[in-house]
């Protein structure tokens, strides 16, 4: 179990049973939990409580879950796991597009909940110091500061979410090498995620949108049906 002594979770959910479930299971494992049953309150709590992870129910009675997710993402790089009773692929892609790091469907088991929380937290924590990669990688006009988890392009800082950064780091430290979908999913999201190809597609698209100049040199190259690679020198 990762050290969760100071990990705080914001739970945005209106079903009391689920709130009870999550709160009980998280507190017994040492998490702080803060609960909000409506969207506006949730945004306030985001400011005041600075949670490490947000568990967001898409089907809130008074709010549009996707919109709320987008607003949270706008304000913070906090890890977001969305929970939904609907399970369609379209919903999943939409959720990822608006900034969610992970997507969980109801009904879920507690094991699954905990596993996803752990994976997401790990991904969004800064890398350990013994990482053999060089501390700074420069590609074209991009400067990737691995230790500081910062990226700048042509001198301008680019804001990336932890997941985006994790994916970029994986690609950049294996520059020129073809990385399969499965490999990327396992490395960035964790075990059990190897088949979630929508995740990888959405996040590659997000990286490209943020890092590649329109009409300029592509940064991430697609190998159809196989995987991706960072453009070689």
């Amino acid at each position: 179990m990762p050290d969760s002594a100071h990990t705080r979770a914001l739970v945005v959910e209106d079903d009391p049973n689920i709130v009870d479930l999550i709160r009980s299971n998280l507190s017994v494992r040492g998490f702080d939990t803060v609960v909000s049953t409506d969207g506006n309150r949730a945004l306030q709590l985001l400011e005041t409580e600075s949670p490490d992870i947000v568990l967001l129910d898409l089907m809130l009675p008074e709010a549009d879950g996707f919109e709320l997710c987008r607003q949270i993402r706008e304000r913070s790089a906090v890890a977001i796991i969305v929970v939904s009773a609907r399970g369609g692929e379209r919903d999943k892609v939409t959720a990822l597009n608006v900034g969610a790091d992970d997507y969980m469907t109801k009904p879920f088991s507690i094991e699954e909940l905990l596993a996803r929380i752990t994976a997401t937290l790990r991904r969004t924590r800064p890398a350990a110091a013994q990482d053999p990669a060089p501390p700074v990688i420069a590609i074209g006009d991009l400067v990737i500061d691995l230790a500081g988890q910062q990226v700048s392009r042509a001198g301008q800082a680019v804001h990336l979410t932890p997941t985006e950064f994790a994916l970029l780091r994986e690609l950049a430290t294996n520059r020129g090498k073809l990385l399969t979908h499965a490999h990327l999913l396992r490395r960035v999201w964790g075990h059990g995620y190897e088949t979630e190809t929508e995740y990888i597609r959405v996040y590659v698209r997000r990286l490209r949108a943020k890092l590649e100049a329109a009409g300029g040199q592509p940064l991430i190259l697609t190998q159809p049906r196989a995987g991706y690679r960072m453009a070689p020198e």
Binding site: D15, S24, N25, R29, R86, P107, S109, I110, L113
Partner: protein
């Protein structure tokens, strides 16, 4: 030099023989000639017209060399003419003066040969006279005795002699000053003949005179002098004698020509503003006045016969015989004129000729002669105008011309009338089409529009009855609309069975190609039928005329109408299809929404159950007793909730598929209601008040299901209203065969969007007491399965549901408690409409079943 156009034509390349330019002569202060220009070609006869003192004689004298002009030039064959008569004579100019200038003391021969005598003449008298006589003979002048003294001759003879003398020299230019001023008709004529003969030989002739008629008889050109100036240089053919007179005197002469012109203007004005039907009479009366004759008639060509359209002063006997004439000789002068398209002048009606067939009539009517002039319109012969006279003889040329002129007016009037008729007819047709199109394209529903359109069509066709039939799916033809003398109808209305019968035959028999076909019935009625392909099946449009008189445009109009009706029917069909599509889309949306909500409703308790159970099974955690108990209680509660949801869903599904099973027995309503109330939590049960009529009959029903209905209604009343709401259930008998139960609350009333469709699976915000929102829907399904009715009232305060149950369904009662009632999808119960349904997929079927919202008239 100006030459008239005809002169140019006749003498294209020759230069003028005589050319006068800018001639001016003054006698003291008087300007006898003031800038005169004149040109005469060889062989041309120019008449010089003018009143006394206008300058004619002066001009002649100038040209003859008798006086010298003050200015200007005279050229003869290009050579100037000097004021020397002898020299001028040598240049080939001969003059016949007004006073003739004969030598009275000499005889004819001497006068004739004066100045041209030669030695031989002088030597021999005989030869002298022979020459003279020969000359006179040559000229055709009947002066045989050349020895007569000039003094002894008559005025005419003297004139002739003077002319002969002038002509004897064979001049190239002959000047005549008033040659026949004092002559009688016969002599005048002879002189004119002479002059004409000379002209024919190529002599240029300048004739000064003031006899207008003579001018018009002889001259190629008329030059009018007035106050020493040339005021006109015209051709006789181009001008009226009266106009020349007017020019001469400088005043408007109210000649007969001018009168005629005024009359014509007046006629035109009247015609323009007159009623078309009276224009022919107007023309005839004007013509009669113009001719000074009052017996006229006009025949119009209609369908190969000449029909008398108007007449003036024609005796009745003749009129009736001539009311209708065939073209050709059998039609008398009228028919002949029509046939030949030329005027037929019958000098004598009695003689063999055009009047041959009508000789007696002519006598009786005192018709001695007639003229028939064809009236030519733009499309050929339009009619014939005939004039009758009581005296024999041919009409003067100008009168004939006048009649032809009036005939032209008549042609225009006839054409105008014809065009007006055509326009009126076309207007009627266009108006009809416009009305129909507006009606059918407009906002009113197609079914009504068709009725109005048929009315318009009936007017436009001037038909007796018009009917539109359509046939759908090989069923019987159905009458969509009918318009008849008594007014329009949707449906068959008062259409005669004969008409319907024919229409049905037509729709079955003919091709639906939109072409009109005529049919005739035994009774002499005529029909026009058009069949066309409407979206639902073949359709037929039929119109009937009892008298058998179809209008000319009927065929085109009915075909156009059929086209418009087809478009309207297509629009109707499209509208229906659109509605169906919209209903289907709506139902599919509702389905999607429903399924989505449903999945959510089911997953929520499942999540709790799974979550709590897996929490309890975590190996690495030990839960305290409170938590454990709480988890387990939640598992139990959510399982129960899930169970209820599933039950509701199964009920709903069974109702939708029509397979709801009822276990019926005789039920005591009060007992059922009380049982329902007992299901409620005690606190809320207190808010419910029940009252029952004494003597309430028992009903044949499923006790448990009825209880479910009441529980749902009470749940709805209590769950959606603020706490403290009171609920009242009442039941009373409704006649001997039914029971009415009301469940009323005084709460906040139902929101509008829910009240619009209260029994649909509800789209509601998530509420803690929620089922899948199926409660009311299930309640209604159960009530309908019993043959009853459930309705929502919206009183001023709160909400009220009204339930009606039959005591028993006919044929279904029995004491067998296990009997169940099966209800078909479109169940009809004693005249109640089938409920509108939204489809939910039945349990096993993969396809949604859609029912159209229809009002089915009660059995």
């Amino acid at each position: 030099m100006q030459m008239s156009a005809a002169a140019v034509d006749r003498f294209p390349d020759s230069p003028p023989l005589l050319s006068v330019s800018g001639l001016a002569v003054r006698f003291g202060a008087l300007r006898a000639l003031d800038g005169v220009d004149l040109a005469v070609q060889p062989g041309e006869l120019v008449a010089l017209a003018g009143e006394n003192g206008a300058g004619k004689t002066t001009l002649v004298r100038c040209i003859a060399g008798d006086i010298a002009p003050a200015s200007g030039r005279i050229l003869l064959s290009g050579k100037p003419v000097l004021a020397d008569p002898l020299a001028v004579a040598h240049q080939g100019v001969a003059v016949v003066w007004q006073d003739l200038a004969l030598c009275d003391n000499l005889d004819v021969a001497s006068n004739l040969l004066l100045g041209r005598e030669n030695r031989r003449h002088l030597l021999s008298d005989t030869r002298f006279h022979a020459t003279a006589a020969a000359l006179l003979g040559e000229l055709g002048i009947p002066l045989h005795d050349t020895t007569r003294g000039a003094r002894a001759l008559s005025g005419g003879q003297r004139q002739l002699l003077a002319v002969a003398r002038a002509m004897a020299r064979k001049p190239s230019l002959l000047l005549l000053d008033e040659p026949s001023a004092s002559l009688g008709v016969q002599a005048s004529r002879r002189v004119e003949e002479l002059i004409n003969a000379l002209r024919g030989q190529g002599t240029a002739i300048l004739l000064a005179c003031h006899d207008i008629d003579q001018m018009f008889r002889l001259a190629d050109r008329i030059v009018v002098l007035r106050h020493g100036r040339v005021v006109a240089d015209v051709e006789p053919g181009a001008v009226h004698p009266d106009d020349v007179v007017a020019l001469l005197s400088g005043q408007q002469v109210d000649s007969s020509a001018r009168r005629q012109l005024t009359r014509l203007h007046g006629l035109v004005d009247r015609l323009v503003s007159a009623d078309p039907s009276s224009s022919l009479s107007l023309i005839l009366s004007a013509l009669g006045a113009a001719l000074g004759n009052e017996r006229l008639c006009i025949h119009l060509l209609q369908d190969d016969a000449l029909v008398c359209a108007a007449s003036l002063g024609v005796p009745p006997a003749l009129l009736s015989a001539w009311s209708r004439l065939p073209p050709g000789p059998a039609g008398g002068p009228v028919g002949l004129a029509a046939d030949s398209e030329e005027p037929v002048v019958q000098d004598t009606a009695q003689a063999d000729g055009a009047w041959a067939a009508f000789g007696d009539l002519a006598r009786a009517a005192k018709v001695a002669s007639s003229w028939s002039v064809p009236v030519m319109g733009p499309g050929g012969l339009a009619g014939v105008i005939t004039m009758f006279r009581a005296i024999t003889g041919a009409p003067p040329r100008d009168q004939l011309d006048l009649v032809t002129l009036y005939a032209g007016y008549a042609a225009s009037a006839i054409e105008r009338d014809r065009l007006l008729d055509e326009v009126t007819a076309r207007n009627r047709v266009l108006e009809t089409i416009r009305e129909m199109l507006e009606t059918l394209a407009g906002p009113i529903p197609v079914a009504e529009g068709i009725v109005v359109a048929l009315q318009s069509l009936r007017r436009g066709l001037q038909a007796d009855e018009v009917v539109l039939l359509s046939q759908a799916d090989r069923g019987p033809p159905r009458c969509r609309a009918f318009a008849g003398p008594a007014g329009p109808h949707r449906g068959a209305g008062a259409a005669s069975p004969a008409l319907l019968g024919i229409a049905s035959q037509v729709i079955a028999g003919t091709r639906g190609d939109g072409v009109a076909r005529q049919l005739r019935a035994r009774g002499g009625e005529r029909f026009l039928a058009v069949t066309f392909a409407a979206p639902a099946g073949p359709a037929a449009l039929l119109a009937s005329w009892p008298g058998g008189q179809l209008t000319e445009d009927a065929t085109a109009l009915i075909e156009d109408a059929a086209h418009s009706l087809r478009l309207a029917l297509e629009r109707e069909e499209a509208g229906l299809a659109h509605q169906e599509a919209a209903a289907l889309r709506r139902s599919q949306e509702l389905q999607r929404g429903f399924l989505s909500r449903l999945s959510h409703e089911l997953r929520t308790p499942l999540t709790a159950i799974r979550g709590y159970a897996s929490s309890l099974m975590q190996p690495d955690v030990t839960w305290d007793g409170d938590s454990q108990r709480r988890f387990l209680a939640r598992i139990a509660a959510e399982s129960a909730r899930l169970g209820r949801l599933v039950d509701d869903l199964l009920d709903f599904s069974a109702i939708e598929s029509g397979i709801l099973r009822l276990q019926q027995d005789w039920c005591d309503i009060p007992l059922v209601v009380e049982a329902a109330i007992a299901c409620l939590p005690p606190a809320t049960a207190e808010a419910v008040e029940a009252e029952f009529d004494p003597g309430l009959p028992v009903v044949w029903a499923d006790h448990d299901r009825l209880e479910q209905v009441f529980v749902n209604l009470l749940d709805n009343a209590l769950g959606h209203n603020p706490p403290g709401t009171r609920v009242n259930i009442g039941a009373k008998a409704h006649g001997p065969a039914g029971v009415t139960i009301t469940v009323a609350d005084d709460g906040s009333g139902m929101p509008d969007e829910l009240a619009a469709a209260p029994f649909e699976p509800m789209r509601r915000r998530r509420s803690r007491t929620a089922g899948a929102g199926l409660g009311l829907s299930i309640a209604r399904g159960i009530v309908h399965a019993h043959g009853g009715l459930l309705e929502l009232d919206r009183p001023a305060v709160g909400t009220r549901f009204r339930l009606w149950l039959p005591v028993e369904l006919p044929g279904k009662t029995g004491s067998d408690a296990a009997e169940h009632a099966l209800l078909s999808r479109n169940g009809r119960n004693r005249g109640q409409p089938a409920p509108a349904r939204t489809a939910i997929p039945a349990a096993d079927s993969g396809r949604p079943a859609v029912a159209r919202n229809e009002v089915i008239s009660g059995a």
